[in-house]
Amino acid sequence: MSTFDNPFDPDRNLRAGCACGQHRSAAEHDQAAAALHCEPVESEEKRYEGVVASAVMRAMFPQDVARRAFLKSVGASTALAALSQFFPLKTATEVFAATGAPEKKDLKVGFIPITCATPIIMAAPMGFYAKHGLNVEVVKTAGWAVIRDKTINKEYDAAHMLAPMPIAISLGLGANAIPFAVPAIENINGQGIVLATKHKDKRDPKDWKGLKFAIPFDYSMHNYLLRYYLAEHGIDPDTDVQLRSVPPPEMVANLRADNIDGFLAPDNICQRAIYDGVGFMHLLSKEIWDGHPCCSFAASKEFITTAPNSFAALTRSIVDATAYASKAENRKQIAEAIAPANYINAPVTVLEQVLTGTYADGLGGVKTDPKRVDFDPFPWQSFAVWMLTQMKRWGQIKGDVDYKAVAEQVYLATDTKKLMTEMGLSPPASAYKSFAVMGKNFDPAKPEDYVASFKIRKAS
């Protein structure tokens, strides 16, 4: 369930049905899509109300099934009324939208030029930061290690980071342990496995022994997803193939030069390889885990505590931008806004293909998948637990981990929690949901069992 969906619709489908998973049938999906296109942009207040209500509903019913049953039995309007009785949604929405004067107006936010950063980037040219009273300079950065160091050095107030990075930094993996927090996820899906064109007949991963793959960073969803995918097909990512950490911009050049056989990389890099005729799309990351997080919006705990209002305004801007980006009809406009050299610096055609989901697959076909990349800010703590299980699985973490504690420390549903405390309510103990990766269910309550259940893993 996306943060921007109506949480009071008991008929919201959980899985299956149509391509996007939100409708009961393909026909209804088409109808809804058509309707969406001419629907006027909803008011901001409405949107906040939706986000807050979603968060509350989610907190009360972490399982979609339970929520559905509840709504079915009492009806949506009764549920809303009941909920409003003891949780004043209107007030909460106002508090969420209220702008305390930001302690610091001129902020610097670092980003890596990939489409994952869309909400962070577009918020500048499209005025989302300005709307929330901030003057934000978005600064392009050369690589993940540099963005980490610059954020730790406080040259950036907040930054675009790979979803596992704030966890790794907080744990002191590959960096000094500095508490970081994630108030919002940037994008879900939106990555892909691209292979060099010469491998177009090697579509079965079982034949991939000895190939060289690039990933953007060790602490990345890309690393974990590729390893997961390979391992599920019986390939040990540590011994049967070579995985190299390569900055995204260098991936296409390396693929062309035959230095690597493929990569699991963020878009627009995947589409760029196809655009330049050097590779083809083997698989969208969505097909490994639909709805997986990729990049996050992260800030140090220090910034959050010293400038809480600035931080809240930033988070509001990002949530706002994310909401705007999650609407299919806005995507073309966004592609144009973020393409110039000042931002992503890529051909508009490439960005459009990524964002609209109608893309050339590199093998002569045109494919359509509107959910190729999507935007949903809610930082599910179960995402963090999953990442921790993979860090454990591949030996990045040695010894015991308190999965829950780390997840809750780093992945804050900060605004929601702060709000609820201000309202005199005790915040929900968890923001966990279970999901399936390649058909295998993940139960965030049993991370150790999950790690142990994999045959292929690094012996600890």
Partner: protein
């Protein structure tokens, strides 16, 4: 005779350049075979894939793009997109600062070390170890300890350009002719005065040579450093255009880096000539 030699050399240079441009043009003109594709698909693909255009730009593409940059060298489209003139300005300012700091440290220090054979021998192993370290190797350490990327870039220039100057100063000071120093001593010239009126002029050509080597190194370093820390400068420009796989702009940047490097070298060469003396 010399003027005709110069003329002939100039002619050969031009012929070589023309030959190079011609070969470049021909090599990049060739089109690779193109797979047939539906128009709908072709619309989504780049020129390399649809027209078999070489991924390497030809000299005409580069020329046209260069003209665009030359026409508006100082535009500013926000923090991540500035004109080439501004980028070069940032780079030169960084190099200037780092280099100047290196001069301020290297020459006095070199003087002291050069005047004392003991120190000279004692410090030599350290200098020899530190000298060959690549700028990129210093960068993570600098970022981590200094905690400021622009200061880190300047530090890296400083640390990389200091060694040739230091070594040359030491060498120049140590190898001032004994007779001259002895003459100064006979005339009872004080130590400070001796250093400035005898040793400095005698060692100046060697010191300037060291400075000339150093400015070359500083300019080499800045591109690497800026590619890593990003933000501004010609190195960042190269990285940003590489990011966009725009080889045309990368070639333009390479050209400009070469030209600026040459100018810096020529300036130092002129200074060297000013202090050179006939023996």
């Amino acid at each position: 005779m010399t003027s005709s030699l110069r003329l002939r050399a100039g002619l050969v240079s031009i012929v070589l350049l023309a030959a190079f441009l011609g070969v470049w043009h021909l090599a990049t003109r060739s089109t690779a075979p193109v797979a047939t594709m539906s128009p709908e698909y072709a619309k989504l693909m780049g020129l390399t894939a649809t027209q078999g255009k070489s991924a390497m730009p030809g000299p005409l593409d580069v020329g046209a793009k260069l003209w665009e940059h030359v026409k508006r060298p100082f535009y500013d489209n926000g923090p991540n997109d500035k004109g080439l003139g501004i980028q070069l300005g940032y780079s030169i300012a960084r190099v200037g600062t780092g280099y100047l700091l290196a001069v301020l440290v290297a020459i006095p220090l070199g003087f002291l070390i050069g005047m004392s054979p003991l120190l000279s021998k004692a410090l030599d192993p350290f200098i020899q170890v530190l000298k060959p370290i690549s700028p990129l190797a210093w960068m993570p350490l600098a970022l981590y300890t200094i905690k400021d990327s622009s200061v880190s870039a300047i530090f890296v220039i400083f640390i990389c350009s200091i060694w040739p100057m230091l070594l040359n100063t030491v060498f120049g000071v140590a190898s001032v002719r004994k007779e001259w120093i002895n003459v100064a001593r006979t005339l009872e010239v004080g130590t400070v005065r001796r250093a400035f009126t005898v040793i400095l002029p005698a060692a100046a050509p060697t010191i300037l040579t060291g400075m000339r080597i150093s400015i070359g190194i500083a300019w080499l370093v800045i591109v690497a450093a800026e590619m890593l820390v990003g933000g501004t400068g010609i190195g960042y420009f190269v990285w940003n255009e590489w990011n966009n796989l725009s080889i045309t702009n990368v070639i333009i940047a390479i050209l400009l880096i070469g030209v600026v490097g040459m100018l810096l070298d020529q300036i130092l060469a002129r200074f060297t000539r000013m202090v050179t003396f006939p023996e």
